[in-house]
């Protein structure tokens, strides 16, 4: 199963699902509130200099930094390699 933390820098993908861990998962609820919802396109912008953690990404027009443990909750449909430097519009239109 492909999760958000497996996505490579520069690559993007479409969210399939945000999983809940435990009874009342504040993290997954907040992820949904921040726009991590099925169908949304996420692009990995950078990974942290130590242990590739946290992850900087863009979802919609917002950029966030997530720790890998948080990103693991987000299941992806697929991963798309960057086509070129100007792939933003294409991935937004997906």
């Amino acid at each position: 199963m492909l999760t958000l933390d497996n996505l490579l820098p520069g690559h993007s993908g479409k969210i399939a699902k945000v999983q809940e861990v435990g009874q009342e998962d504040v993290v997954s609820r907040r992820l949904k509130e921040l726009g991590f919802i099925p169908g949304a396109v996420v692009k990995i912008l950078a990974v942290g200099p130590f242990g590739r953690d946290p992850i900087a990404l863009r979802v919609g027009a917002s950029r966030f930094a997530l720790r890998r443990s948080e990103a693991r909750r987000v299941t992806m449909e697929s991963q798309d390699a960057p086509s070129n430097g100007l792939d933003e519009k294409e991935s937004a239109a997906l």
């Binding site: 907040r30 200099p49 242990g51 900087a56 027009a61 950029r63 930094a65 443990s69 948080e70």
Partner: protein, 618 residues
């Protein structure tokens, strides 16, 4: 607390400013209220409460409450809980607002629209400030404002928080009677957002903020980003010392001249001494930190406003996680090496409440510059000038060791404080806003606010404590035929003797005990206090050269090392404790920190003293 009082008559209408973080809410608040703002903490929590007065076109006023930024009414932090409670009218001390201005960033509409729709469900009249229209235009992002207004049933006022036009339109809208938005349909909020976005915006063709992406390619780069961060921090802390130094010297001079001018006409005596040594020197010892605080906060505000600070937190998050903290704690801790006061104040940038408290509690362990005079005096007097391998000096090595010991202790303390139940999963979820030019007005207002908070609250505490310390070291006055320095007859001298049973086991004599007392007001004073006790009439500069040999003749090496160990941990100066009290709103945290530092200092000194004696350094 007087500053918690409303800014105008209680009958004025209560309006709350609500919005996502990074929606430009604070700039808008500054534009609407100018400098007519009052800042306080909410009772019992460290969340800031900001209220200001807005003058409407007809000359009347409304009270504008700036609520903490929130992503949702399903609160995940104390900040968000305040916003939720106030909006829902559930807050114990805060009346429900009569009108909400919801700030929505046009450049991040999808995210912010979701929160607006959530807010519209609570049945409170709402005006929408559609902010950052300039940014949206640059990204060719079009919004059909009239259409959106009709669809939502609320007034939407486009604003650019840097410019006046939208702000006056907002003022006009505030004068109109508030309208409650119509009830929304029951469709899930995200479906509604999707429908609104596709109908009233050109989101799908909109270009992204490519400039931000381009900058981020460097700033978030594992190598270039780290190099840049290093340079930013270097410049920041260099300027804290170099830019602030002339201003600090000036203030110090000004205070001593003021002291001279005020007291010279007075006859020698208690009043003379009270004014000069108690009040003016006390106020001066606080005020000299102001330039450093302002320079540091200038950087912090500029870096925050420009969007860089969250990126710095991103780069350092993993490193700080090893101490149980997050990247956000780095800057406050680093700035504590200059002085713990601005460091603790800078901990405001740490959003996670537990991290913020832990950051504040370990900030005093980061060796502040005020301890350097003591380190310098004792190292010069007791540590031989051995050189190893031709370039490693023993004295420098000891100084380095003292810093390393402090940092290591800070890491361990952070680990201990964040262990167990407190170590529950840590949410980072940090928004990385687009880069922006900092708004000069916002920077200025922020600096004025910091200056005001610092001078009023902390200043009053320090001056009264200084007067107390002054009284302790002056009364009772020495007998007529006194043979010893005045301080040994004073209450402070007596207290020094009373303290002896506690401190004798760690090798301190009564003179050191006395010097610990004024050292509580300001670390630097400890050296001159030692000089006073040893009856040297010397300024601080010469004290080190004259006092050094005297001490090395009178103290054992064990005592000197013990005192060094003491100052690595020493319970903080009163200014720090006072700021800690202000920033945490909790005497318990202050007491806990002070007591643990005291215990650490005592144990470290005890070990140092007895180990040195055991190893033959008696």
């Amino acid at each position: 607390m007087s500053s918690a009082l409303p800014a105008s008559s209680p009958s004025a209408r209560r309006v709350a400013l609500v919005g996502n973080p990074n929606s430009g809410k604070t700039s808008l608040f500054n534009q609407l209220t100018g400098s007519r703002q009052k800042v306080a903490n909410y009772a019992g929590v460290t969340v800031e409460r900001k209220e200001g007065r807005v003058t409407l076109p007809d000359g009347s006023h409304v009270r504008l409450l700036d609520l903490p930024g929130a992503y949702s009414l399903q609160a995940t932090s104390p900040d968000e809980a305040i916003t939720r409670d106030v909006c829902l009218g559930q807050h114990a001390k805060e009346a429900r607002p009569e009108l909400i201005i919801c700030v929505v960033s046009a450049s991040n509409l999808r995210l912010h629209l979701r929160f607006l729709l959530e807010l519209m469900q609570i049945g409170c009249p709402i005006i929408v400030a559609l902010n950052m229209m300039d940014e949206a235009r640059r990204q060719n992002f079009d919004i059909d404002i009239a259409g959106l207004e009709a669809a939502l049933g609320v007034r939407i006022i486009p604003t650019v928080s840097l410019r006046k036009s939208g702000v006056s339109a907002l003022r006009n809208a505030l004068a109109a009677p508030p309208e409650t938005p119509p009830a929304r349909d029951a469709a899930p909020i995200y479906a509604q957002v999707d429908a609104l976005m596709s109908q009233y915006t050109n989101e799908s063709v909109a270009g992204d903020n490519q400039l931000t992406d381009r900058i981020d390619r460097v700033v978030l780069h594992p190598v270039w980003g780290m190099a840049l961060l290093f340079i930013v921090l270097l410049v920041m802390f260099q300027s804290v010392f170099t830019l602030a130094q002339p201003a600090m010297d000036f203030l110090e001079n000004a205070f001593s001249r003021l002291g001279a001018a005020v007291v010279t006409p007075l006859p020698d005596g208690a009043l003379h001494s009270l004014l000069q040594n108690g009040v003016i020197a006390g106020a001066g010892s606080v005020a000299v930190f102001l330039p450093q605080i302002l320079v540091l906060f200038f950087w912090i505000i500029v870096l925050e406003e420009s969007g860089y600070l969250p990126r710095a937190a991103f780069m350092l998050d993993r490193l700080m996680a090893s101490a149980g903290l997050s990247g956000r704690s780095f800057i406050p801790l680093l700035s504590s090496f200059a002085c713990a006061i601005p460091g603790i104040m800078a901990a405001r940038t740490v959003q996670h409440p537990r991290d913020r408290i832990v950051t504040i509690m370990i900030a005093p362990l980061m060796t502040c510059s005020a301890r350097l005079p003591i380190y310098a005096l004792l190292i010069a007097a007791f540590i031989p000038r051995h050189i190893y391998f031709g370039f490693i000096g023993l004295q420098g090595l000891v100084l380095f060791g003292l810093y390393a010991l402090a940092i290591l202790s800070g890491i361990i303390a952070a680990r201990v404080l964040t262990r167990g139940a407190a170590a529950e999963e840590h949410i980072l979820m940090l928004e990385l806003p687009p880069y922006r030019w900092p708004n000069p007005r916002a920077v200025l207002i922020g600096l004025l606010q910091r200056a005001r908070i610092f001078l009023t609250r902390v200043g009053t505490v320090i001056v009264s404590l200084n007067v107390l310390l002054w009284a302790l070291s002056c009364f009772p006055p020495p007998p007529v035929h006194a043979t010893q320095p005045a301080i040994s007859y004073s209450l402070a001298g007596k207290i020094g003797h009373w303290m002896l049973p506690v401190f004798a086991p760690i090798g301190f004599n009564w003179q050191i005990c006395v010097s610990l007392i004024p050292g509580l007001a300001a670390r630097e004073v400890a050296v001159s206090a030692l000089a006073t006790v040893y009856a040297l009439n010397a300024t601080e500069d010469t004290a080190a050269t004259v006092l050094g040999p005297l001490l090395s003749a009178q103290w054992s090496l064990a005592t000197a090392l013990s005192l060094l160990a003491w100052y690595v941990y020493a319970p903080q100066c009163f200014s720090t404790l006072a700021v800690m009290r202000r920033e945490t709103n909790s005497l318990k945290i202050v007491a806990r920190t002070a007591l643990s530092l005291f215990a650490l200092a005592y144990i470290a000194s005890l070990l140092t003293y007895h180990m040195t004696r055991f190893l033959g350094g008696a």
